[in-house]
């Protein structure tokens, strides 16, 4: 049975949706009081919006635009914590340093990183990768050797391919021994673009 009273009650005392300002104040407060275990926000890049996620320890994930946001977040929820909130403020340094890097004004990142998505072998490989200077490259074999596994260039390639923080951990600086560009999780065009930005190949980057 419906009547006028019930209809009036159903309309509620407010509009359908909570105001944007109210939710903005909520996420600002969550960020300010450090209540989220992971904050995330889209950050601009020449490749389109990257999804950046950080824990209190530091940047934990940087995802390319074609990666599905929900699956990235769900994986973070499973692996680290479901207390995940969208908030730009904690990621301002990430946004700033990436902007400087993409404009050619920055050659190294000073961001603190959270390595907790990376296994023990991957950590050795990616720490060795993080040592490759701007404008330089190493081969998969050389990175494997630096990581303490001289015969592990294939395994090193796998670890590089699952780098959760590309660009900042510069896995694009690892190429093939014969001069080939190798692989890249974000696509070879982006790898070439990044190497060109850094001036790694004065005569133009190799094709394959």
């Amino acid at each position: 049975m419906t009547d006028r009273l019930e209809d009036a009650l159903r309309r509620g005392a407010s509009a359908e949706h909570v105001a944007a300002g109210t939710t903005r104040r909520l996420s600002a407060r969550i960020a300010q009081e450090g209540l989220a275990d992971i904050s995330y926000t889209p950050v601009d890049s020449p490749f389109g919006p990257l999804l950046a996620a950080a824990t209190k320890r530091g940047l934990v994930r940087l995802a390319f635009p074609e990666e599905d946001v929900d699956s990235v977040l769900e994986r973070l929820a499973r692996r680290i914590s479901p207390r995940i909130v969208e908030a730009p403020a904690p990621l301002e340094p990430v946004q700033r340093e990436l902007e400087e890097y993409f404009s050619g004004a920055r050659r190294g990142f000073e961001l603190s990183l959270d390595w907790s998505l990376i296994g023990p072998f991957g950590r050795r490989v990616l720490r060795a990768t993080a040592e490759i200077p701007y404008g330089g490259v190493l081969s998969y074999g050389e990175v494997a050797a630096d990581a303490g596994s001289p015969r592990g260039s294939r395994a090193a390639g796998n670890a590089l391919g699952s780098n959760p923080i590309p660009i900042v951990i510069p896995c694009h600086r690892v190429v093939r021994t014969g001069g080939g560009i190798g692989g890249y999780g974000g696509g070879l065009d982006r790898k070439r673009w990044l190497l060109e930005l850094e001036g790694a190949f004065p005569g133009g980057p190799p094709s394959a």
């Binding site: 009036a8 105001a19 909130v85």
Partner: protein, 161 residues
């Protein structure tokens, strides 16, 4: 283990509107702002303990219900003499985005005993079935039906008057 809980942001996206409608209808738009923040801050703190197979909407409305009771208690403690309840709790028409809002009705809802008010708002504004209303306000399903019935009868007298 956190099980398969969705990221908190998705939980917030899914339930913020129903929590907002519940709170505005229970405590008015001015106090709803604070209650809304308090509800989701409390939910965020407790979130990892939420079981993945429980009902997240009933869970967050339970928290919102408690925050609305706190707001009503705080208001009672302030004990301002209330000549115009609509003005006293900040329900001035200008603060509302729904111009057709019925001041008489919502003042009457505001003055219902806590359990009746919550039952009415959960039933009609949040569109919960009786079983979830009972779980949210912490009573039996029969008690929830009774509170709803009593609340509606009181409102009917006011509205038809």
């Amino acid at each position: 283990m956190t099980g398969e809980l969705p990221p908190f942001q998705r939980f917030l996206d899914a339930h913020r509107d129903v929590v907002w409608r519940f709170l505005v209808s229970s405590v008015g738009p001015i106090e709803a702002e604070d209650c809304f923040q308090e509800t989701f801050i409390a939910a965020l703190r407790a979130y990892p303990r939420l079981r993945a197979d429980s009902n997240p909407r009933a869970w967050v409305l339970t928290i919102a219900h408690r925050k609305s009771l706190d707001a009503h208690r705080a208001r009672a403690r302030r004990a301002t003499p209330v000549e115009d309840p609509a003005a006293a709790d900040g329900r001035s028409a200008s603060a509302l985005s729904a111009p057709e809002r019925d001041e008489t009705l919502w003042s009457a809802v505001d003055e219902l005993p806590a359990r009746q008010r919550s039952a009415v708002v959960l039933r009609y504004v949040a569109d919960l079935p009786h079983r979830e209303i009972a779980a949210t306000i912490g009573c039996s399903e029969e008690a929830a039906r009774r509170s709803l019935h009593e609340g509606l009868s009181k409102l009917r007298k006011v509205v038809s008057a």
